[in-house]
Amino acid sequence: MSPHDCRSCCMNRRECLKFVSASALGAALLLPGRSSRAVEKAELAPDDFVDPAALRPKPAVRIAATFLEMPRPYWLGWPGTTYDLETHQKRYQSALDESAQRLGVQVSMEAAPISSEEAVTAWVKKVATQPPDALLVMLQHMQCWNWATRIAKETGIPLLVFAPVGTAFTGHIDNGSRAGRVHVISTLDWSAVEDALRMVKAKRLFEETRLLWIRSNQRNETVLDRLGVKVRAIPRDTFNQEFDKQPATDEVKQVAADFAKGAEKIVEPTDEDVVNCARAYVAAKRLMASETANGLSMDCLGMVGARLVPTPPCGAWTMLQDQGITAGCEADLFGAISMMLTSYLLDRPGYMNDPVPETYHNSLIAAHCTSGTRLDGFDRPPAPYILRDHSESSLGVSTQVLWPKDQPTTLVRFTSPHEMIIDTGTVLANVDTPPAGGCRTSVEIMMDDVEDCRDVRGFHQVVVLGNHRRILEDFCELYGIKHIRSPRHSTFAEGDSV
C-alpha cells in the first residue's frame, strides 16, 4: 500500500490519521490495484475508510534510455569539436535522474553511450526482450539521426528523441516528428524532456484505470482503443443504493465540516445538504473501491430528474476531482476521459462545461455545476469557492469556483480515443447566477485565435487552468491521436453560412 497523503485528503490530518489507522486492514483490502483472480466483490462497511490516494492508479512506468554519439574524438560536423561530451552527458544524466525521481518513473540507462550500428542493433534486441513503455535517446551528434530512425522503426516502442540544440536541423525535426510513435524534443530546456516522461506516465495511468460508467441498467466492461482505459458499466441505481446505505459517519461529518469551512460563503445549501454531499462523496469512494475502479462518470441529471437522490453529486465530484480522482458528469464518457487527461498529464483538475457563445463580447462562457478547486495543481492551494445549490434542480450542493482572472486556460476534449480538440484562451470573468441562468461555475473566456466565438468546437470540453497546448499536442502525436482546434477564421465572415 502506498503511503496516504493527508494533504490531499478532505479531512484534517488528525481525523484522517485516525481513519487510516482504524481501517488499516480494511483499506488494504480495498486497493483498486490489488492483484486478484476472479475477484470477489468487496463488501465494505459504511464506516470503512477508503483512502482516496489509493484510488488513483500507481502504474510502474519503465523507460529505457541511452545517449547516441559518434565515435570520439569529434571533428567538424555539429555539435562541433568544442562540444564537451562528458560534461553534457553528465548534466543530462543528472537531470534525467532527478526527473525520474520526481515523476516516479523507472529509467534504465545504458552504461555507455551507443556509438555504432552494432551497438544500436544490440540495444534494439535488448529492449525487445521486455519492451519498456518508452525509449529515450539523447542525441549527441547530428549524424545519429539515422540510428534514432532505425530504433523507432525496428522496435515499434514509443520513442522520445532529445536533440539538444546543435544536433538537428529543420529537416531532421520535420521528418522525425512526422513518424508515428515518435516525439522529437529539439531544445536546451530540460523541462520539455520531463514533460515527455510525464506523457508516458499519463499513458500508463490511463492503461491502469478502470472507470465506472454509471447509467442505464446494464453491467458490462469494455476497454477503450488507444488509451486502454477499462470502462465498467454499472446500473444507475447502484449509486443511489450506495448513497442510501451511507450513514452520516464521523468521516462524513468531518468531510462536510471541512468542505463548508473552506468555502468563501454558503448561499443556498443547508447543513443537511452539505452532509448529504459528503455522504455522496464517501459513497462514491466506497463504490469505486468495491468495483476496483479509479474514477467514475454518472448519469447524474437522470438521477436528479427521477428524484432518486436528495442531492446531485456536484459537490462530491469537486472533492474527488481535487484529489486526482476523475468524477464526470452526465455519464459523458469522453468528457470524463478528457477530465482524466488533465488529471494524469497536467496534475490538475478540469471541469467539463456547457459552452455558451457570448456574442457581444465575442467570448465563450464555460459553465457547469462542478469544478475542482485546486486549479493550479493538486499540490497547490485551492481557488476560492462558494457553496451553491445545483441550479437546474435547486437541490443539494454545487460549487461556484472563482477562477483567477487574466489567467490562461485550455479547453480540451476527446471526441473519441482517436481525436482531441484543443483550444486556449484567457479568463475574463466569473459569471454570477443570477443574473445569468445556467450552471454555478461559469467562467467567461476570451478564446485565442478564434475569430468568432460561435465557431468554438465541441461540447463538454474540459476547461483547465494554464496554457497546455504544446504538451497536449505532443501527447496526441506520440500516441497517434489526431488533434484539431476551432477555426481561426470566422466561418461566418464570407457569407458561407446557410
Binding site: 475477484v39 466492461e221 469494455t222 482503443d225 497517434g480
Partner: protein, 381 residues
C-alpha cells in the same frame, strides 16, 4: 479387416461421436451476449458463420475436436483442432472486450506435420452479401471482418473496383440542375479512411481520369476539402463548396499514368490536411483514353458516358469491390515443421470489427484487454 483398418474405423467412429456429442461453446465477455463456436469449429455470429477450409496437395478434410480452454488462465475461449494430412489446423476463438460491443478474435494456426514443405490454400467461407475491402469485409455499413494485414496479396482482383474501407451511400447527393444521375450517389470514407479505386490498364499506359464531386451536406466552404490523387498525375486539393457550391456537381481532370508499371491505375480521395470534416466523398469516375476526355460540362450533364473506357457510378447500384464476391482465399506456404498464424477480427452481436486504419488494436492489446477485464470481473456477476 486388418488391425490397421480396424483402428482407423474406431478412430473415425470416435471422431464422429465426438462431433455429434460436442456442444457449441459460447464466446463472450462480461455483460455482452455470446457468439458461439459450433462442433465443426465454425464461428457463429448474428450476421453469419465463419468457416475455414484447407486444400492443396497432401491436404485432406479433417474433423474438428472442439474444447473449451482458458487463455492466460482467465480468458474463456474455444479451441478446435483438426488434422488435414500434412497440416494441422488450430482455431482459437475468444472475445476481446473492446469498446463499445467487443470483437471476436479468431486465430488460425497452421502447422506442417509432414516431411516436406506444403502449399496450403486456406479458404474463408463467409456468408453471402459480404462486400470485401482491402482489409475488411462489410455488410452494408457494418464491418464484419478484419483480415490479416498480408491477406489481400493472394486475392484475385477484378478489372476495376473499390479497394478500401469506405461505405456506399446511394442517394446521399442532392445535385441541382440537369446532371448525370451518378451525382446522387457517393462512397464516403467514414472516420477519415481514404476512398480508393483500382483499374486494370496496360502497364505504364496513360489515361485521362475525371472525378465527379457534389457536396450535399455542407453549405459553407472550408468544411470538407478533399485531396484527390490519380496515379501519375499531380495531386489536386479541392473544396467542392468553395469551387462549385453546395449541391453543385463539379469535375476534376487528371492526366494519369500507370507510374509504377504494375498494370493497375489507382485513384484515391482523402481528407485534405486539417479538413474539419474528415470523411472524404466521391460521386463519379470516368476513365478515358489519353487526350480524349470530352468537355467537362457535357460529362456533368451525363452526355458522354458511352465514350468512357470505364464509367463508375460511385456508391451506385453497379459499383463493385475489386475483390470478387464469394470465398476469401489465402495462400500459405508451410515449411517442414513450420507454423503460420493468421488472425481475423470478427464482428460479434450488434457490433462492428475495428477498421485497422482507424484503430490502434493489435494482437497483444486485444489479448491484454480480455485479460484485464476477466481478471477483475466479480465472480458474482
Amino acid at each position: 479387416m486388418s488391425p490397421r483398418d480396424t483402428t482407423l474405423l474406431l478412430l473415425l467412429l470416435a471422431a464422429a461421436g465426438n462431433l455429434a456429442g460436442a456442444e457449441p461453446i459460447p464466446i463472450g465477455s462480461p455483460g455482452f451476449p455470446p457468439s458461439s463456436v459450433d462442433a465443426a469449429g465454425r464461428l457463429v455470429e448474428d450476421w453469419g458463420t465463419v468457416d475455414i477450409q484447407l486444400s492443396g496437395e497432401g491436404i485432406v478434410d479433417g474433423q474438428a475436436r472442439l474444447s473449451p480452454i482458458k487463455l492466460d488462465d482467465v480468458i474463456p475461449a474455444a479451441q478446435a483442432v483438426s488434422e488435414h494430412g500434412a497440416v494441422r489446423m488450430t482455431r482459437t476463438v475468444y472475445r476481446a472486450p473492446i469498446f463499445p460491443e467487443g470483437v471476436d478474435v479468431l486465430q488460425v494456426g497452421l502447422s506442417g506435420t509432414g516431411e516436406k514443405s506444403v502449399d496450403v490454400l486456406m479458404t474463408l467461407d463467409i456468408s453471402a452479401g459480404v462486400q470485401l475491402g482491402r482489409r475488411t469485409a462489410r455488410i452494408g455499413g457494418r464491418t464484419v471482418l478484419v483480415l490479416p494485414s498480408d491477406a489481400a496479396a493472394s486475392q484475385q482482383l477484378l478489372d476495376w473496383g473499390y479497394y478500401d474501407e469506405s461505405v456506399s451511400l446511394p442517394g446521399w447527393g442532392k445535385p441541382e440542375g440537369k446532371c448525370d444521375p451518378a451525382f446522387t450517389n457517393i462512397r464516403a470514407g467514414m472516420g477519415g479512411v481514404p476512398i480508393v479505386y483500382q483499374f486494370t490498364v496496360a502497364p505504364g499506359s496513360q489515361a485521362d481520369v475525371v472525378l465527379g464531386l457534389c457536396e450535399s451536406h455542407w453549405a459553407e466552404a472550408g468544411q470538407r476539402p478533399l485531396r484527390c490523387q490519380v496515379e501519375g498525375a499531380a495531386i489536386q486539393t479541392v473544396d467542392p463548396v468553395a469551387k462549385w457550391g453546395q449541391h453543385k456537381p463539379g469535375t476534376l481532370l487528371f492526366r494519369a499514368r500507370d507510374a509504377n508499371g504494375d498494370g493497375r491505375l489507382e485513384v484515391s480521395v482523402r481528407p485534405a490536411p486539417r479538413a474539419p470534416d474528415r470523411n472524404p466523398i466521391l460521386n463519379v469516375i470516368w476513365l478515358f483514353a489519353p487526350g480524349e476526355s470530352p468537355p467537362l460540362e457535357k460529362l456533368i450533364a451525363g452526355q458522354c458516358n458511352d465514350l468512357a473506357l470505364r464509367y463508375v457510378d460511385v456508391g451506385g447500384q453497379n459499383d463493385q469491390s475489386v475483390f470478387p464476391p464469394g470465398k476469401l482465399e489465402f495462400r500459405v506456404r508451410l515449411e517442414k515443421d513450420g507454423t503460420q498464424e493468421l488472425t481475423f477480427l470478427v464482428a460479434c452481436t450488434g457490433g462492428s470489427a475495428p477498421v485497422p486504419e482507424l484503430s490502434d488494436w493489435d494482437n497483444d492489446s486485444l489479448l491484454r484487454a480480455a485479460r484485464d477485464v476477466w481478471r477483475d470481473w466479480p465472480k458474482d456477476h
